[in-house]
């Protein structure tokens, strides 16, 4: 292995503020199974979050960003970048990030950009923000991972493809509620999930692609990060992994030596579904909501055909005050309205009008 594989800025950086968003509607997996499988299907999650008619990646990112600002206690005009990672940007051509920047009052002295990198667009933006701040180019940058994922009606993905995500303000370590000690990215071209232009729904490989894709990448990123740092699973209070269903992150954790207790607070997929670009990082927000100063956290994202980013994070004493300054992730999850398949089909635009 070459030297310097870890990504560590010369200026120490961390998370200044964070914010989650989950829409209020839920469709149970058994309701999808009722419609498409006669009620007989293995259910990969209990239920998933569905956006309302007036919600999309732009509106959801705005709310998560406002929560991050409330916790970060900085002015929107202090931000020098707003980067939004998603697979479901509302426009094919026209940025998401400019609307978010405008709505939170961060314009005009700001970088804005939309990222699209399978399910790890959000963590990719976080790594870029670490570099942006860590180089001294800027003091504060916001990275968002947010999705309103769609699965083809009746397809296995429909049970899990969900809506939600999180926003993070990256800034100098001395003003951080959690320092990001370093990150490591493991990237190859191993696609098991894709969507061509003009197609509404994605295609995916069959079940066995989990091994060379998800497990290979997420365990390699985490293992290498820990090896290079000289840590093991025991050195971390908490861990959170990309969560396309309930079993994958549980098994990845086990392979890496983490206990079910270590991943419990960040394992949200059973109750909100797979939020794609938001999946691992919204788990991180739920961990930060309950974390204590000194807690060490391993975060690892995954994107199909994109790779995995792993992060080593240490919570500081600033968490105690800031965690309470915005709506907690579990409070968004508790704000739950169950809908049936017909309402879901209307909300997700699955009913063709012409």
């Amino acid at each position: 292995m070459p030297n310097n594989t870890l990504l560590k800025p010369t200026r120490p950086v961390g998370i200044i503020g964070y914010g989650a968003y989950v829409p209020r509607y839920r469709i149970p997996a058994r309701e999808i199974a009722r419609v498409w499988a006669g009620g007989k299907a293995a259910l990969p999650v209990k239920e998933k979050a569905v956006p309302g008619l007036d919600e999309d990646v732009i509106t959801m990112s705005i709310e998560a960003a406002r929560n991050a600002l409330a916790r970060g206690q900085i002015q929107p005009s202090d931000l020098r970048a707003i980067w939004v990672g998603s697979e479901s940007h509302p426009y094919a051509v026209k940025p998401t990030s400019t609307v978010v920047a405008e709505a939170i009052g961060a314009v005009p002295h700001v970088q804005a950009g939309d990222w699209e990198f399978a399910c790890k667009a959000g963590t990719e933006a976080m790594v870029a923000a670490m570099g942006f701040v860590g180089s001294g180019m800027a003091d504060y940058a916001m990275a968002i991972g947010m999705d309103t994922a769609q699965g083809k009606p009746g397809d296995a993905l429909e049970y899990t493809a969900a809506a939600g995500g999180a926003a993070f303000i990256i800034g100098p370590a001395e003003n951080s509620l959690a320092t990001i000690n370093c990150s490591y990215s493991y990237v190859t071209d191993t696609p098991d999930f894709w969507r061509r232009e003009y197609q509404k729904y994605p295609e995916h490989g069959v079940r066995f692609t989990g091994e060379p894709a998800y497990f290979q990448h997420i365990t390699s990123s985490s293992k290498t990060l820990m090896e290079e740092l000289g840590t093991t699973a025991k050195d971390y209070q908490w861990a959170v992994f990309h969560q396309p269903n309930t079993k994958f992150p549980q098994r990845a954790a086990q392979m890496l030596g983490f206990t079910p207790e270590q991943i419990a607070p960040g394992l949200l997929v059973p109750v909100i579904g797979n939020t794609y670009s938001g999946a691992s990082i919204i788990g991180l927000t739920a961990i930060l909501d309950i974390a204590k100063p000194g807690d060490r956290i391993l975060l690892a994202s995954f994107g199909s055909g994109a790779g995995s980013d792993a992060f080593d994070i240490t919570v500081t004493d600033k968490i105690s005050v800031r965690a309470g300054l915005a709506t907690k992730t579990q409070d968004y999850i508790a704000r739950r309205i169950e809908i049936d398949y017909a309402t879901y089909a209307r909300y997700r635009g699955k009913i063709t009008m012409k």
């Binding site: 999309d56 509106t59 705005i62 509302p90 405008e102 709505a103 915005a326 709506t327 409070d331």
Partner: protein
């Protein structure tokens, strides 16, 4: 709607940015550059907290073009904590559970498609029932 009009309205629509009168501190929304209280010029921008309560409301079943895809929905007069009463759509709420005096907070949501699926998406303020947040951090709420 013409594109430049969307540009002019974006600050008030996205972030509930109005004005404050430099002479009498009256808070103004929507912005109109003249203080309705003292009649003097008032052009200082003021970002509202987004907190308020339902003053009155009605549920729309027959919606105008551009809004019909989200009908039925509830429109309310919302009295903002800073004073002004504004008309806005409520969201994340069933019409049957809306009450006068209900605490609400501003969110930015998709208002409508301008024309059809080819047009620009219009985002604006709506209000939803206030989420439960720790009392200590919202002493005014």
């Amino acid at each position: 709607m013409e594109i430049p009009r969307h540009w002019r309205l974006k600050k008030q629509r996205y972030g509930l940015v109005g004005e404050v009168c430099p002479h009498c501190d009256y808070k103004i929304f929507p912005p109109r550059d003249v203080c309705p209280n003292c009649g003097d010029e008032a052009k200082d921008l003021f970002t509202f907290s987004g907190k308020g309560q339902v003053y009155s409301f009605t549920t729309i079943y027959e919606a105008p073009t551009g809004y019909d895809s989200s009908a039925p929905y509830t429109v309310a007069l919302v009295k903002l904590d800073e004073g002004p009463i504004i008309t806005a759509q409520l969201t994340d709420v069933e019409g049957s559970s809306v009450e006068i005096g209900m605490p609400v907070e501003m969110v930015t949501r998709k208002m409508r498609d301008d024309g059809d699926e080819r047009g620009i998406l219009v985002y604006s303020y709506k209000f939803r029932p206030s989420l439960l947040v720790p009392q200590a951090h919202h002493p005014a709420g």
